[in-house]
């Protein structure tokens, strides 16, 4: 072929590409206008919204934490009264666990998983919209209650009998119970969506052993959600029923058992820790690979560790209940399982260290957060191993030692990777770079502030300071360390503020990022930043684990996917062989209406059991309208056979 002919073909291809781009832009356009905002089904738009909403809740939870720190800064402080203090620590815990940590990573997954898999949307776009709206309504319920002085006040776990009808009259705990059921419904919907997307919507050639580690992490998390969240939904539903229609599940006088609540709660509650932590591992792997400029060492070991963590995570729940007088044999089993979890966690830490060791490091802000993660998480892991042993656990149970441990694990294990991930993917989501200087400043403020806040709590706990007390006496001698922790909290707050300033400034005047500012490994970097509504001009094909590093000259692509309707390619679940073409639905109001219907059901049910039949009506209408074909998907219509 002569040079001229290639030129001609390339020009021809360019013309075809321009035409294709125009058609795709029309077909996949984002919804616009006021009502369009409630109809959006694009995974990038919903993912961004998910993350933004969860970050607002993070700020609210953080403000609550600072209020608690101010109250505890000196002995016998009168800044918050005991009742408000109870509401604030309950709202802080519930917000951070249910409305921030889980949704923020689900938002990240909703945004990134389809991009990394090389497809145009999640498998069920309208379900995505439903989970987002349920999440928003759950958050409004909690904070609506809080500002109407009906905020829950029995702890984020709401143990019976304290949370039962006898000791918590009024509606406060009902708000908690309904909010839980709500937000878990949202997480479950998002998880099923992620599972189906990962198994069915991968780029051709992306067999299971080529899935990016980030996607593996999100998949394992989603499977854990499916098996863990029903337990807490049941716990919160039974609690609400005990309170509202006088059932006796947790009433020992009528044959119920308060410990049943603890079992149900922690059967969810422990996997929940991993539901928060495993996505963060995925983020760490993505950052480590990109900034070491090599694939993560030990892919197979990493994947098996993730899966093993997912399984072992279900065998640990009783270690939260060592103080309830369980049989010795049971305690030993759960001690062993709790120690065993260190094996897959350790494997991953060593794999990352090997990656960093043998890579050519590029010391940008995201990698700083990974270093911060390793340092803090290892400390949290070590106190975890200490707590796994029953005698020590009994000694420090319900003290600040546990508060220190759980914040080392969750902030070190999840928030640091999250901030790293936000710095890493911010250019992809917005098209602009975050400032490196502010980023690093923010990192150091967060790192120093975090350790100043939480390290002293280890010592306070060992000295016997109990959790969830609104004040303490001067004679205890806990004043100095508490003051130090409060000062650390302020530094931590400044770190978050620095991040917010960085985001605000960069959104307006940050350096333009381009498609691939970090020379990334996975498919999200192959497309413009921010991604167009259809993501990929032509769906990519994949021939290895690092598609962008392997096909850096030209991207092999799929043709024959129609662009006049929302068509995507569905591939086989194991080897990702092309299987069929699916047509996805466009923008619609019905998921929003359904979320409202569910909201009516749950909120009215706090006041009368009639809420269930009343709410069922709008729900049923919304579901029928959701299902009923509008003939606008470009599908083939069937005719009656005579």
């Amino acid at each position: 072929m002569s040079v001229a002919e290639i030129q001609e073909t390339e020009e021809g291809y360019a013309g075809h590409a321009a035409e294709e781009r125009r058609r795709l832009e029309k077909t996949w356009a984002f919804s616009s206008g006021f009502f369009g905002w409630f109809m959006e089904v694009s995974h990038t738009a919903l993912g961004r919204r998910y993350i933004a909403t969860a970050m607002i809740l993070f700020l609210l939870g953080g403000i609550e934490a600072l209020l608690m720190r101010i109250q505890l800064a000196r002995p016998e402080n009168g800044f918050l009264d005991p009742d408000l203090y109870n509401e604030i620590f309950t709202t802080h815990g519930s917000t951070m666990m249910f409305l921030f940590a889980v949704p923020v990573f689900q938002g990240l997954a909703i945004y990134l998983v389809p991009l990394m898999l090389g497809t145009r949307n999640t498998a069920f776009p309208r379900l995505n919209a439903l989970s987002y709206w349920l999440f928003v309504i759950g958050a409004l319920l909690l904070y609506g209650g809080f500002f109407l002085n009906t905020g829950p006040d029995a702890g984020w776990f709401a143990y019976v009998p304290l949370s039962g009808p006898e000791y918590s009259p009024g509606k406060r705990v009902d708000v908690w119970a309904q909010m839980i059921t709500f937000s878990e419904l949202s997480s479950l919907a998002a998880s099923v969506n992620i599972i189906a997307t990962v198994f069915k919507h991968r780029a051709p050639g992306m067999s299971l052993n080529r899935i990016p580690l980030f996607v593996w992490a999100m998949l394992v998390t989603a499977v854990m959600v499916v098996f863990a969240m029903p337990a807490v939904m049941l716990a919160s539903t039974l609690l609400a029923m005990d309170r509202l229609v006088d059932t006796h599940f947790f009433n020992i006088a009528e044959g119920g058992d308060p410990l049943l609540f603890q079992h149900l709660f922690w059967f969810f509650g422990h996997p929940e820790v991993y539901i928060i932590f495993i996505p963060a591992l995925g983020v760490v792997s993505a950052i480590t690979a990109t900034f070491s400029r090599r694939q993560v060492f030990g892919y197979m070991a990493m994947v098996l560790s993730l899966v093993a963590t997912g399984f072992i995570g279900f065998g640990l729940w009783v270690h939260h209940m060592f103080a309830t007088g369980l049989p010795q044999l049971g305690q030993s089993f759960f001690t062993a399982a709790s120690m065993m979890i260190a094996i897959p966690s350790g494997t991953q830490i060593f794999c990352w260290l090997a990656t960093l060791w043998s890579g050519r490091l590029r010391l940008n802000t995201p990698l700083y957060f990974v270093f911060g993660f390793v340092a803090i998480f290892v400390l949290g892991g070590l106190t975890g191993i200490m707590l796994a042993s029953v005698p020590l656990d009994l000694q420090v149970h319900d003290t600040f030692f546990v508060v220190a441990h759980l914040h080392y694990v969750l902030i070190g294990g999840a928030i640091f990777p999250l901030f790293g991930g936000l710095h890493f993917w911010f250019p992809k989501m917005t098209g602009r770079m975050l400032s490196e200087r502010l980023g690093k400043l923010g990192f150091w403020l967060l790192f120093i502030g975090f350790n100043l806040t939480f390290f002293p709590m280890h010592k306070l706990g060992l000295e016997g300071m109990p959790r969830r007390v609104y004040t303490y006496l001067p004679e205890t001698g806990w004043g100095d360390l508490n003051l130090l922790a409060t000062a650390g909290g302020v530094v931590l707050g400044l770190g978050v503020l620095t991040f917010l300033i960085n985001v605000a400034v960069s959104l307006r005047s940050g350096e333009v990022a381009g498609a691939d500012p970090w020379e990334g490994e996975t498919l999200e970097w192959a497309i413009p930043s921010p991604p167009p509504p259809y993501n990929f001009l032509h769906l990519p094909t994949v021939s290895g684990r690092s598609p962008l590093w392997e096909n850096w000259e030209e991207q092999p692509v799929v043709t024959g996917v129609e662009s006049h309707r929302r068509e995507v390619l569905v591939t086989a679940s194991l080897d990702a062989e092309p299987d069929h073409r699916d047509i996805l639905p466009g923008p619609t109001i019905w998921p929003f209406v359904l979320a409202l219907g569910v909201g009516v059901t749950f909120i009215v049910a706090i006041f009368t059991p009639w809420g269930v039949p009343i709410g069922a009506v709008p729900c049923a209408i919304a579901l029928v309208a959701w299902f009923w074909p509008r003939g606008d998907m470009g599908r083939y219509e069937l005719k009656e056979k005579s």
């Binding site: 189906a196 499916v226 337990a231 119920g256 079992h263 000259e553 692509v557 569905v570 299987d579 074909p629």
Partner: protein
Amino acid sequence: MRERPELDVSDLPTVAFGARASIWWGVVGLMAIEGTMFAIMFASYFYLRGNAAEWPPTGAFHPGLGLTTANLAILLVSMIPMHFAAKAAHREDLAGIRRGLIVATVLCVAVLVIRAIVLSRLTYRWDSHAYGSLIWTTAGFHTLHVITGLLENLLFIALLIKGPVEDKHLVDVRVNTLYWYFVALSWVPFYVIFFLDPGLLDLSY
């Protein structure tokens, strides 16, 4: 980055049945969630039973082994017309789908009627004791599923009569059948613990 066409998929179909379809994974996910929910309720039953001095509590009369068994039997039989509806979906036989769904819906109504009689015969309520809470909540939760299944069938029948029926609805009929199997079979363990066990093993009760 330049693109190089490598794979043409324009010949591939736009629908597929079974595990090939995304919606199958969605419905299996739903079944896994609800199956976990049922399993945990089942476990809760034994947790409370293990601590109880008296189980079931005195004065809890059996609503009738024959009636409860008949109820389960009809529920299980309703899987057969659903199976034929699914078969018809594979053949694109709209009339066949309709027939299967109508028969299943009639059986479903029968199940609900008998379930109502069974519950009305119980001598205790959900607020009498923990045993009552368990049986009413489980039965209520499962009945809700049967009602949902009934409404889904009616929706499909309406769609088949009124149209437009699109190719993907065949897959929907198929996964709807799968879900119905799940609803029918998930009652078996609860039938065993609530009705068969006390009915057979403890005749004085």
